[in-house]
């Protein structure tokens, strides 16, 4: 499998359910020794919005985040994930580094696709429930149109 774009890999890792990420990373294979470039650390990201949704940017408020950077087999992996979760930040950093290692890239790509699939499924479930609350005003409009 072709290596995936780094931003796509990091997005999937950040949005992944932590337990699923841990078990899938273990399933990729033996994790080689790694060195910390930056140990897991928590901090803040100031989240910005835009006036009117599309206009001038403004600072909405901060979100708690964790970050970690590692070096594995000479490849650097960085991770930023929302929440206070050093273990997830570490796992994501390792996976992010392994994604650049030809020996692991295929396995990581498969993992990323599986995590994306889980996310889509979860979002699909949410959406189906939500859509049951959709008001059918359209029927009224069609009725008026027929007059």
């Amino acid at each position: 499998m072709r290596p995936l774009d780094q931003a796509r890999v990091m997005r999937a890792l950040a949005l992944a359910d932590r337990e699923s990420l841990f078990s899938r990373l273990e399933a990729v294979g033996r994790i080689p020794d790694f060195e910390y470039l930056r140990e897991p650390q928590k901090g803040l990201i100031m989240v910005r919005g835009r006036a009117g949704g599309v206009g001038s940017p403004f600072n909405l408020g901060e979100a708690l985040a964790s970050r970690c950077s590692v070096s594995v087999n000479g490849h650097r992996g960085h991770a930023y994930v929302l929440g206070d979760d050093p273990a997830k930040a570490l796992a994501a950093a390792i996976a992010s580094a392994l994604a650049q290692d030809p020996a692991y890239a295929g396995g990581i790509a498969e993992m990323v696709l599986a995590l994306e699939g889980e996310l889509d499924q979860e979002r699909d479930r949410e959406r189906r429930k939500t859509m049951e609350t959709k008001v059918d005003f359209f029927t009224l409009a069609r009725g008026e149109d027929e007059d």
Partner: protein
């Protein structure tokens, strides 16, 4: 005076122990878990996140529990917690149009693209207090008394809409209601007027006048009750904003962050936000034809009343820019921005509970001096004084 302070230490320690005991309540009952607070008191957690200006449901739940449910105290706790943390940087602006809404309604168009999605709302409930749902619990309904939604009923029939979400811009998202008015030039265009680095209240002290991005930041963390009262006053005539809700939506958005070591933006997670777009009458002026103008509300978490109030106050605060007469408190930038923060407000109001013995003695001495001094007796005309 120091004698009193020394004597106070033991009492203060005892008060803290008593507070801890009172907070815990009846030890025969299990302590509330943070997961319980997060999942069952979600709106309390969301308010604390929005006004604490720190998104983390876990920390907010902890604050709610530690504050014994006093949300303003919990907000204070969260603000204090954030002050001890390093700032990694600023996110890319979130794309609320890319939201996968859990709720989306419009008060202006009944049949707009994307439709009216009620979501988990108190609207249309009967506000009948009671345990009826819990007592009529059915097996498999989680004690709610209503059958769970399993998503099998599907949507109310809109052919051509794909069922599967396809990322942020896929059909799981809905276009903004204001877009249609904007295309016809009936509502002012919302443009990115900058600055590229918006004012940051957490870095720069508040100064009046403040540009709209600065005001929006202050409003996003302002007290819900304060904004609600201002919005209400404006609707009732203290000001002129009584808008339409063009688009009100709730749902998760992805947060993208461009870390310096990466140099490109990457999704780091998602947060839930509530967004409100209002359309407000404007009779024209300053070279602009009559058109609808915009107010905007955005909060972290599910805070619908707050987002709506914020949008009304945002529009009211644009009065100066639009050349409207300043007639009400909601239009007064200095009044609104300096008094909306409940951590500052409760701190200043509450500080008078603390010992003011010396100040009071000074005022008492002055009062005695004034009354004993020769000259016209200020109390002489006051015959109604109770004895």
């Amino acid at each position: 005076m120091y004698v009193a302070v020394k004597g106070g230490q033991k009492a203060i320690e005892a008060a803290h122990r008593l507070l801890a005991e009172t907070r815990r309540g009846d030890t025969a009952l299990p302590e509330l878990g943070l997961a319980q607070i997060r999942s069952q008191l979600g709106l309390a957690v969301d308010r604390v996140q929005a006004e604490g200006s720190l998104y983390d449901p876990e920390l907010a739940a902890l604050a709610v529990r530690q504050a014994r449910g006093d949300l303003v105290e919990a907000i204070f706790l969260l603000r204090a917690a954030r002050a001890s943390l390093e700032r990694f940087g600023y996110s890319e602006p979130i794309r609320t149009l890319g939201m996968r809404p859990r709720r989306r309604i419009s008060g202006t168009f009944k049949d707009l693209p994307g439709g009216q999605i009620l979501g988990p709302t108190f609207d249309y409930t009967h506000r009948l207090l009671g345990a009826a749902p819990a007592t009529s619990a059915q097996p498999g309904d989680g004690g709610t008394g209503v059958p769970p939604l399993d998503g099998t009923a599907g949507e109310n029939g809109h052919p051509g809409e794909a069922a599967r979400p396809q990322g942020q811009d896929g059909p799981a998202t809905v276009p903004g209601a204001a877009t249609f008015l904007e295309r016809q030039g009936l509502i002012e265009a919302e443009e990115d007027l900058g600055p590229e680095t918006p004012f940051d209240l957490t870095r720069t002290p508040l100064e009046i006048p403040l540009d709209r991005p600065g005001r929006l930041q202050a409003l996003a963390r302002a007290d819900e009750g304060f904004l609600l009262a201002l919005a209400y006053s404006s609707q009732r005539g203290y000001g002129s904003v009584h808008p339409f809700v063009a688009d009100l939506r709730l749902g998760p958005v992805e947060v993208e962050f461009s870390a310096p070591e990466l140099g490109f933006p990457v999704t780091v997670g998602q947060i839930e936000v509530t967004e409100c777009q209002t359309a407000c009458q404007f009779k024209g002026g300053g070279g602009r034809p009559p058109m609808f103008t915009r107010g905007y509300g955005l909060t972290m978490g599910h805070n619908e009343r707050k987002a709506l109030s914020m949008a009304i106050v945002d529009r009211a605060l644009r009065s100066r820019e639009l050349g409207e007469a300043i007639k009400g408190p909601a239009q007064d930038e200095e009044f609104v921005l300096y008094h909306g923060d409940n951590v500052e407000a409760s701190g200043f109001v509450s500080h008078i509970k603390l010992p003011h013995y010396v100040d009071f003695q000074a005022e008492l001495a002055m009062l005695r001096h004034m009354r004993s001094a020769p000259g016209p007796d200020p109390g002489a005309a006051d015959t109604g004084e109770a004895k």
